[in-house]
Amino acid sequence: MKPSQIADTLVAEFEMFTDWEDKYSYIIDLGKHLPPYPAERRTDDFLVRGCQSRVWLSPTVEGDVLRFDADSDAIITRGLIAMLLRVYGGQPAHDIIATPPTFLSRIGLDTHLSQSRANGLASMVNHVMRIAAVVAQQPRSGEPA
């Protein structure tokens, strides 16, 4: 599935929840099930600046496909990471760039999160987009340089 389709699915999932508590419980649950982050990359080099809690994000490039490992010391942040990784992880750089994070506002997270938390989420998205932009600019293997 393309990132935009995964985003639509995510929005649909959240539409099933009628109150804030269920939404947060789901995000917390997503956070608890985030795949383990490689210990050797839990260093300052992989810290994303601008987050209220500490966030580590480490990309791996396979051809033009980007995979991400990420982690945080805060569980709600881990849940938000899980959502981002579900939409953007394992996707071609071009598709990532073509999918702005509007699903976050469609879910209603942008109005519910505190300013510092929303800024942190924006920092994570920017980080993912920047990495995707760098990868997208590199010539694909097999194509003339």
Binding site: W20, E21, Y24, S25, I28, Q52, S53, R54, D73, A74, I75, I76, T77, H112, L113, S114, S116, R117
Partner: protein, 413 residues
């Protein structure tokens, strides 16, 4: 635990009713429980009215202009200076300099006393200072080759006064300390620190940002050379601060910023400067906020200080009792003399997560390092949750907060 009968809920409800914002809702209908008074106070209707009235009847630039409104605005602005002088126990309104806030007051003093410092001179701070009472001194110290010495904080969240006595010595030129910790609520023995500073000929600066909304302040009794606070923490508007300075000390200082109002006469051959406090007030001041501060101080002074103290202690004890049963709760600091500011963490949860869930339930607290990173390091944490109370805080609000905290912790674990 119930509130003592002497804390009549009628009193709190009466005060509370004067704050329109406290009866609003957030996040789609959740009644606001505002427990972030240490970050900024809310404003009573009389202060809001005073600002509106200023713009409908008085607005004009001050200290200039030969017309009726200019005179009226100047009178209102100078009346604020008189009100503040009386509020702090200053000898004269000339000892009151209006600034943008406590932060600018520290910067003003650091910048204007800098010329007195020689390499190796010492500035004594404490481990529980707000960054605003650290960084301006660091910048100045780097410039002058001065050295910062730090009074440590004990496990109970109090200043190690024995260490203070050995740190403050002949090399000390300035002692700057917070009166009430914005993170722990500890009330520091600042009169003692000022006396130590005075005994070695050092200047003393007290950051009173949190202290002004608790026990009455008397700068003469404290014996400080400088005392600063921000209007917005005292029920008045943002963008205005107060710097009290002993007059002869203020008189000995050079200007801080250049501009209008702070001059005596200007020529390209040389400019002479106004006397304090005008010497330190370049440009058009925040008259609106000064007018608001007058009303805020009058309003606050009408609330009996004994009642205030009693309410603060009762509500703090009530809150400690209400959240005390939460498994894994650590409250930082248990000073013998403290005010209604509670910093805590809950094992197995991140402060940011707790803050997010409390907010979702309508409870406003602060999470983070509270601009006191050295203190956080001393406590061995990176962030805490801080609930802070005011004269308007009710037992019901504390109940809602405690229930919300219990629920948040349950969701996060």
């Amino acid at each position: 635990m119930t509130l003592p009968a002497t804390i009549s809920s009628i009193d709190v409800d009466y005060l509370r009713a004067q704050f329109p914002i406290l009866s609003t809702t957030v996040h789609g209908g959740k009644p606001l429980v505002y427990l972030d008074h240490a970050a900024t106070s809310q404003k009573p209707q009389c202060v809001i009215d005073a600002i509106a009235s200023y713009y409908t009847t008085t607005n004009s630039n001050v200290h200039r202009g030969a017309h009726a409104l200019a005179a009226k605005a100047t009178e209102a602005y100078e009346h604020a200076r008189h009100t503040v002088a009386a509020f702090l126990g200053a000898a004269s309104p000339s000892e009151i300099v209006f600034t943008k806030g406590t932060t600018e007051a520290v910067n003003l003093v650091a910048a204007t006393v800098a010329h007195r410092l020689q390499p190796g001179d010492e500035i004594v701070l404490t481990e529980m200072e707000h960054h605003a009472n650290i960084v301006p001194w660091q910048l100045m110290a780097q410039q002058r080759g001065a050295v910062i010495r730090v009074i440590p904080v004990t496990d109970s969240g109090e200043l190690d006064m024995q260490a203070a006595a050995s740190l403050i010595g002949p090399a000390t030129k300035i002692v700057s300390a917070v009166h009430v910790s914005n993170t722990l609520g500890t009330v520091n023995p600042v009169a003692q620190l000022c006396a130590m500073a005075g005994s070695v000929g050092a200047l003393s600066f007290i950051d009173g940002a949190q202290a002004v909304l608790h026990d009455p302040i008397d700068v003469a009794a404290l014996g400080c050379d400088f005392y600063a606070f921000s209007a917005h923490k005292l029920f008045a508007p943002m963008g205005l601060g107060v710097l009290y300075g002993r007059y002869h000390v203020l008189e000995s200082l050079p200007p801080y910023q250049g501009g209008g109002s702070m001059i005596d006469s200007v020529s390209f051959d040389g400019t002479t400067f106004n006397a304090p406090p005008m010497r330190f007030e370049a440009g058009t001041p925040n008259v609106e906020a000064a007018v608001g501060l007058t009303t805020a101080i009058e309003w606050f002074a009408a609330v009996d200080p004994d009642w205030r103290r009693h309410h603060d202690q009762s509500i703090t004890a009530y809150a400690l009792d209400a959240i005390g049963g939460i498994d894994g709760l650590t409250v930082y600091g248990n000073a013998a003399h403290r005010v209604g500011i509670l910093s805590f963490t809950v094992e197995g949860t991140h402060a940011a997560d707790v803050g997010t869930l409390l907010d979702a339930m309508g409870v406003a607290v602060r999470v983070g390092h509270h601009c006191t990173q050295p203190l956080m390091r001393r406590l061995g944490v990176t962030s805490t949750i801080r609930a802070s109370f005011s004269v308007t805080t009710t037992a019901h609000e504390v109940d809602v907060f405690a229930a919300a905290l219990t629920k948040a912790v349950g969701m996060l674990r």
